[in-house]
Structures are given as C-alpha cells and as structure tokens.
C-alpha cells in the first residue's frame, strides 16, 4: 500500500519499509532540541535516567531564546543550567546569546535539519522543519530527556490530511495568510494528532520563508507535523547550508489520506485571526475599526529576512502612529545583520519603531513587549490565546508582516493597500 512522505520518513527511522497509521514505533532521532524554558526540566529528568552521557553530542541543539537576553534572575539561573549542561557534555550545537536566534529560524538556517530527517524538540513549534521535507514535531521536556539518553522517541504514526492549494496569490498574501485561512476553515483541533501535508501548485511556487510559516503553525490546528515535499526551492535553500546528506522522500500516488482539502488561493485576502483562538480568521477588510496599542513583527513564525523586507516596504518613509508601539524582532543574528546591511533596520527606527535583538520575548508574554490590562496588539506571531502577550484582559490579533506594519502606521488594523 502507498505511503505518505511522513510514513516513509518514520519507517526509515525504525528500520522498516512500511509503517501503518495508528501503530506505535520507537524511532531514531537525527536531532533533539530544547530551549531555556524546556531544557532545564529535561536536564533534571536526564540526570534521573542515570545515563553516563548523551547519546550523541552532535545531535542535540540547545538554544536559549525564550527569556534571553535574560529578563530576570530566575530566568538567568535557568539559562545557566542549560549552559553548564552544554559545557559538561560538550554539546556542539549550543548557541549563546550573541550567536543565537529563535530556534526554529536558526536550526534550518544553520543546516542542522535536512530533508528526510526525524527531529523532535521540546517546543511546540518544532513542526516548522517540515518545510524542508523533514518529519519534525514538538514534545515535552521528559521526551527530550529520554531522547538525549537513548537517541530514540516513541511515536504514533499519524494519519494524514492532504491540503491542495491552487490559484495565484495576491500581492500581500503569503504563507501566513494561507495557514491562518486553513486553520480558520478546519479549526484549532481540525488536524488533531494528524499530519498536515501541504501540496499543490501554489505551494510549488511558495518561497521557503512562506513554507516555514505554514509548517510552523500546523500545531495551531492540533497537527502532529506539517510537511512539504522537497523540490528545487527546498534544494536551493539547503545547498549552501546542509551539514548532512539530504534524503528526499515524497508521498506515493496511492498514499492514503483521511481527508483531502482543496483551497483556491486566488480568493484569499490577507487574513487576521481575532482573539482568542487562531481559528478566528477573517479577511482584513472585514475587521472594521479596531484600534491597536502595539504591533509586533517577528517570532519563529514571521521573523525571517523576507518578512522584514515585506514590513519595510510598507513602513519606508512612513511614521508609526503616535498611539502605537512598533517592535520589530529579527529571528537570528544573521537576519539582524542582513537587515542592517539592507537598510531595513534604519527604516524601522526612522519610522519610530524598536529594532530588537533576537528573542521569543513578547510572543509568549515573556518580556520585550508585554501588554497591560485591556491593551491590544497586532502580531505576526502564532497564538492569540487569553493573556498570551501579557495581562489576561489584553488581546492579540494575528496577521502577516505587511498587515502588522500597515496597522502600526494607521493605529488600527489596516490592509497594506490602505498605506502603500
């Protein structure tokens, strides 16, 4: 019987030709990932296992990105635990402040994940790497601990939903709009436990940054992984980066899907997800007069250089509305430097915005832009749950970078077409 790309990758990692959806397997991992919030618990649990060392010091990545540069003494202590563990076990891929970035932008950019890999990470947005044709999924700290000791993880082989995107995208419509629209259509548990396989002519022409954004938010529909079969766009991205051999898999023509959903992208306008669930997606023109206090452009979802270029196109020679705080956060140091070289940093600062060092900070209401009671933000991040960016009565609206930039200029949620 035919298999999906996800089944094939899982089979290859447990020494099998075929795995059946629903069966439980122990699979070998190519990379285990953790950050400054999840790794400290994993380290504590790892010590309890009694393993002499980690299974492979080259296959663990530790990225302090959530509360860094450290926001308080307690988070500094947690980051220190991660640093000391990395030193003790000679972890090759430990990324210190100043060399780090938001993990899900940094790891693929560093070529640490390649097509055909099996990656687990103690962070729910680990599903991002499906964009390069890898199986990657978020797990908890205890799973991370066991995988650091054994090099394996238990997984249930997921059923898959195939999404077929067709039609030409509009100028301001990107990966973020496609995924918000999709989540709006199927709901926040519409892909629970399942693979979201993104296919179709629109995906074939979607650049890498848009593919990362789509796979990144598979978890917001409850998905186990998002995945896109590697093609020329993938290999162009990987060529200068891949640290290991790429293994290209694709779904068989007779692979079995529990559902096939077709989406006409020519009819999708820029999307905005209203509080307090990502599934509350509407087109930006339907939103009405929604005033904002803050706009955040960045995160593992939309902090790549192309995202910043899109925002800069809207903000060039314009000013942020007097009532709005604009916070722009490039996802990695490399992206930061590139944004400086291209003059994007200057555009953001001259517009009256903040241009920050890489951090997850505001996305999870950690630091660098928490909201006060009753405040409202538009953000290119991935979640708009109750209190996600700060006070429980604050609100987050999700959008693409151009919509967030246009809203920062107008002081209310706005389409880029109103500004440019």
């Amino acid at each position: 019987m035919g298999q999906t790309i996800t089944q094939k990758i899982l089979a290859a990692h447990c020494g099998r030709e075929y795995v059946e959806p629903g069966e439980l397997i122990n699979a070998r991992v190519d990379l285990v990932l953790g950050n400054d919030i999840t790794a400290p618990i994993a380290i504590k649990e790892f010590e309890k296992i009694g393993a002499e060392d980690v299974f492979d010091r080259h296959k663990i990545a530790l990225v302090p990105d959530h509360s860094t540069p450290n926001k308080d003494i307690k988070s500094a202590e947690l980051a220190k635990e991660v640093r000391l563990f990395a030193r003790k076990h000679n972890i090759v891929n430990y990324f210190e402040v100043g060399r780090m970035g938001i993990e899900h932008a940094l790891i693929p950019d560093q070529g640490l994940v390649v097509p055909g890999d099996l990656v687990i990470g103690a962070d729910s947005h680990t599903c991002t790497y499906g964009a390069v044709g890898a199986f990657s999924t978020g797990v908890g700290s205890t799973d991370m601990a066991a995988a650091m000791a054994l090099g394996e993880v238990w997984l249930k082989v997921p059923e898959a939903i195939k999404f077929v995107y067709y039609g030409r995208r509009g100028k301001w419509v990107g990966g973020k709009d496609l995924i918000l629209y999709t989540i709006g259509r199927i709901g926040v548990d519409g892909a629970l436990y399942s693979t979201m396989e993104f296919t179709g002519e629109t995906i074939k022409s979607l650049p890498m940054h848009g593919r990362f954004t789509m796979c990144n938010m598979a978890i917001e529909a409850g998905g186990k992984n998002g995945i896109i079969a590697p093609d020329d766009i993938t290999m162009d991205y990987m060529r200068a980066r891949a640290k290991r051999t790429c293994r290209i898999y694709e779904s068989d023509p007779d692979a079995v899907y529990k559902d096939v959903i077709e989406i006409d992208c020519s009819r999708i306008e820029p999307q905005v997800s209203l509080p307090n669930l990502p599934e509350n997606a509407k087109t930006v023109s339907e939103i009405g007069d929604v005033r904002i206090d803050q706009a955040v452009i960045g995160s593992c979802t939309n902090g790549r250089i192309e995202d910043l270029r899109e925002a800069a196109e809207v903000l060039r020679s314009r000013k942020v509305h007097p009532d709005v705080r604009l916070i722009v956060i490039p996802a990695t140091q490399e992206i930061y430097l590139q944004a400086v070289k291209e003059g994007l940093a200057q555009i953001f600062v001259e517009a009256g915005g903040v241009f920050s060092t890489p951090t997850c900070g505001p996305c999870l209401g950690g630091h660098m832009g928490c909201l006060a009671a009753g405040e409202r933000a538009i953000a290119t991040t991935n979640r708009n749950f109750t209190g996600r960016m700060g006070h429980p009565t604050s609100e987050v609206y999700l959008s693409n970078p151009a919509v967030a930039a246009a809203s920062a200029v107008m002081g209310r949620i706005a389409s880029p077409e109103e500004v440019v």
Binding site: I49, K71, T142, D143, L277
Partner: protein
C-alpha cells in the same frame, strides 16, 4: 481508586491558561501549582481540594509544549483529568510524568461542575457518584500502559539504560 469533586472547563483549554508564561521562570512544581489555571479561573487553586478532578471539553492542553502545564495541574492536587480529547503534546507529557488522564466524551457530558466522581484507572471506569451514572474511557495502548506501569518515561528509560549495560 481516585475520588474527588469535578471542576468543569470548556473546549480548547490551552497551556497559556493552565500556566501563564510569566511563571515559566521557575521549574519548581509547588510554585507552578500555585498558579494553575490562573488566567481562566483565578480562584481554582483555592477551591480545588487534593484529589479533585478536572473535567473538560475537546482539545484540552492545546498550545505550547511546556511540561510545566501537567506539572502545575499535578502540583495543584488534581488527581486526574478527563476530557473529550487532548492536544497531543499535553497527552504525551501527562503520560510521561504520570498525571492520570482519560479520554471519555460521554463522561464529560455526564458530569456537572461540583459532582463527586470516582475513577478506576485500571479498568477505565468513571462513576459519577452524585448521579450514579457510569462511563467507560478508551483504554490506553499496551505500549503506553508499559510506560505508565514503569512509573513514567524516565523510569522506563532508566530500565532501558540499565538493560543496555547488561
């Protein structure tokens, strides 16, 4: 046998509501437990008695991978979570750290806030002692029962490490 009162919640209870990120600068279970469910039900930790249960709708625990969420629930004294469905990372985390969870839509519909509930984890039987109604949860696959019976994933991994040393 687990016995306690039910605290009912709706669909899509997410990890930001179970334990807000502002408390993730700690890994101390007692400290996390003090803030359990704070942004969705400020008074929860004061009302919940040791042994009480959380009974919730679909997609419980959606959102972040933070294991702090099931840790906070356990530390708040909650003995078991019954939901229509669980988000997958929360499900794994609960199994891995030994927080009893059961998927049973019928029980969720048949239990009201404040009802007295009895749960037999071995058989998956849920009894609403207030109304007398009885429900049967979906059994765990045997592989997961192995992890649960080992006392969580860490004990399971420790046994594997010891076995590999011969």
């Amino acid at each position: 046998m687990i016995t306690g009162r039910a605290h009912k919640f709706g669909d899509n209870v997410n990890t930001d509501e179970i334990i807000p990120a502002r408390y993730l600068n700690s890994t101390n279970p007692a400290e996390l437990g003090m803030h359990c469910m704070e942004d969705i039900d400020k008074d929860f930790v004061n009302r919940a008695e040791p042994g009480d249960l959380i009974v919730a709708g679909s997609n419980f625990g959606c959102g972040s991978s933070r294991e702090h969420a099931p840790i906070a629930i356990k530390a708040a004294g909650v003995s078991c979570v019954i939901a229509k469905t669980f988000a997958r990372i929360f499900y794994r985390n609960a199994i891995n750290i030994g927080l009893p969870i059961l998927e049973c839509p019928e029980a969720v519909d048949g239990i009201s806030d404040g009802d007295k509930v009895e749960v037999d984890l071995n058989s998956g039987t849920i009894r609403n002692a207030t109304t007398g109604a009885e429900f049967k949860a979906k059994p765990f696959p045997s592989f997961m029962r192995d992890i649960i019976e080992s006392g969580g994933l860490i004990n399971y991994a420790r046994q594997r490490v010891i076995a590999s040393r011969g």
